[in-house]
């Protein structure tokens, strides 16, 4: 079910918010001991929140998400509700406050149904780096759902929630969206407040979400985006009414196809074919494609894996077991690897060769995008070079895991927005296409994606829950 349909049903009294929330809780009860989407389910508060929403609905009070159940990635601080970051080191942490985004979502009437599983601290592309049980893809439970916002994606795909929030530092909203047949937004850096979200790499981190449709996604962005005095990196740019823009004309929009992305090693033939079919559909909407070049593409992952671990090593220094949580030997293997890599890159004698060099290459990559956006309005590329991979396939080789983000990380390096949209299936497995635009061009991305979704309703192909 989409949020749009649910809002209509709540307003016309087809069902109550309590029934809607209970339906989600029933799905969790039935399937989550196998899928492992949730780390904490807040059933009691969700049900009482739903009762309250029903009474407000009855009084005719209007709020954009009134009575809608949502799931929050476990990096979002939630007042009096356990927040683990997917890590065992803070498995007992009860935040005394809500993240700004959580406050905004609650004020808009949304109901928090629970906290979702993830690669611990956001470190991963598959969900397998959780310190708990790895989340499984409901489209094929032997495969990964994509990470790091793995549980939030599966919660939406499996009907346990109508939206799932995530953070995106390198791929963490868009990859699980692509692997689970969802729409996932990575907004412009500074578009959405990060106050109260556990930090990973502060010059990259963005706050996004996953939904079934483009409309639903745009609706949540209207609620979450905007300036926040508590996050000095938020930019005071007005938030457009994204949902009202849907339906605007797309004819004549120029889309760039970065040739380096299509020459990338490891791109599966089936992905290439699915993307080409999607491009034909975009063409039928009057879109013009133009080949462009982003010359520094092949250096993006190397740049990312210097800068991000450096910032990670600094951000994770605060977990010392003094103010909350346990001692540092409780970190999982991937967190340890990133702390070590970052500490190495920042250490005396290595700083210039690693950190400074990578920060300069970051400028080159950002310039590549800025130059290309002088010729085209947006760009398009696959969200992933492969279909969702098997659980365990890449866990022993961290580098091969890192390379699954090859089409997504450059977007974070440049701080621009990216939207992953379902664009077909290989067998029963979903494929996503990514639309990327200049900073603060989210509206344009939504308009284009919505026009495509109107001719291709891939989101209606839900997983076969009987097989789980």
């Amino acid at each position: 079910m989409t949020i749009k349909d649910a809002i209509h049903a709540l307003q016309t009294k087809k069902f109550s918010s309590k029934e809607l929330v209970q339906g989600c809780l029933d799905q969790i009860q039935k399937y989550d001991n196998h899928l492992h989407a949730f780390l904490t389910v807040d059933d009691k508060n969700a049900l009482s929140g739903a009762e309250n929403a029903d009474s407000l609905l009855h009084q005719g009070i209007k709020k954009p998400l009134l009575g809608i159940p949502i799931a929050l990635k476990d990096l979002f601080s939630t007042n009096q509700l356990r927040t683990t970051a997917g890590s065992k080191i803070i498995d007992n942490y009860i935040p005394p406050f809500d993240a700004s985004v959580v406050t905004k979502l609650k004020d808009a009437g949304a109901i928090v149904i629970g906290k979702t599983n993830e690669d611990a601290w956001g470190h991963g592309s598959s969900g397998e780096n959780t310190d708990y049980e790895p989340t499984r893809n409901p489209y094929d439970t032997t495969r990964v759902p994509g990470g790091s916002s793995s549980g939030a994606a599966v919660a939406v795909a499996a009907g346990m929630s109508l939206a799932g929030t995530g953070t995106d530092t390198g791929s963490s909203v868009r990859l699980p969206a692509a692997f689970c047949n969802l729409v996932g937004i990575k907004p412009t850096y500074g578009r959405v407040s990060r106050y109260g979200i556990l930090s990973m790499a502060s010059s990259f981190d963005t706050i996004g979400h996953m939904t079934k449709t483009v409309y639903d996604n745009a609706l949540l962005s209207e609620v979450t985006a905007g300036f926040d005095t508590k996050d000095a990196t938020t930019v005071d740019v007005p938030v457009p009414s994204y949902t009202q823009a849907l339906g605007n004309k797309v004819r004549g929009i120029r889309i760039g196809i970065p040739k380096e992305y299509f020459e990338a090693q490891g791109m599966q033939k089936e992905i290439q074919e699915t993307i080409q079919a999607a491009m034909k559909d975009f063409e039928s909407l009057g879109i013009q494609f133009k080949e462009i070049s982003l010359p520094h593409t092949s250096y993006a992952m190397a740049c990312y894996y210097i800068l991000v671990p450096s910032e990670v090593s600094s951000n994770l220094a605060r977990y010392d077991g003094v103010r909350f949580g346990h001692s540092r030997n409780q970190f999982g293997a991937e967190a340890k690897r990133r702390i070590m890599l970052g500490t190495h890159a920042l250490s005396a004698g290595y700083y210039d060769a690693f950190y400074k060099k990578a920060a300069q290459v970051r400028t080159c990559i950002k310039n590549d995008f800025e130059e290309a956006f002088k010729q085209v309005d947006v760009m398009m590329m696959p969200s992933s070079p492969t279909i969702p991979f098997k659980i365990g396939e890449k866990t022993s080789d961290p580098l091969s895991m890192y390379l699954s983000d090859i089409f997504l990380c450059p977007v974070n390096i440049a701080g621009i927005p990216g939207l992953s949209v379902p664009c077909g299936f290989v067998g029963t497995l979903p494929v996503g296409i990514q639309i990327v635009g200049p900073q603060f061009s989210e509206e344009q991305l939504y308009v284009l994606a919505d026009a495509y979704e109107k001719i291709n309703t891939w989101y209606t192909q839900v997983p076969n829950m009987k097989a789980i």
Partner: protein, 96 residues
């Protein structure tokens, strides 16, 4: 893609990062981190002469706010998650 092997002094770095590691972890990470470090060496190929480093992508700078008092956490709330407390303070291991 993999050029020359790079090594990393895992036990030294672990000490800097205040990260206790087991012998097995040291061996595993030494192998895995060396392979990642070999991969990132390719950055050396990029000509970055006269290129400024980037750390802030939207160009914001000098973000100020009024230095005014706003409500914060109470002492009790701030201490609630602390594993060790003493007279309303956080208890830490001695460092000398």
């Amino acid at each position: 893609m993999q050029s020359k092997k790079t090594s990393i002094d895992v036990s030294h770095i672990a000490k800097l990062a205040s990260l206790p590691l087991t012998k097995e972890e040291e061996e595993l990470f030494s192998k895995q981190l060396s392979s990642t470090l070999s991969y990132v060496q390719q950055l050396g190929e990029v000509d970055t002469k006269n290129v400024e480093p980037t750390a802030q992508v939207t160009g914001l700078m000098n973000v100020f706010r009024e230095d005014s008092i706003v409500p914060g956490l109470s002492q009790e709330e701030a201490l609630k998650n602390a594993p060790g407390q003493h007279n309303g303070f956080f208890k830490v291991d001695s460092i000398f």
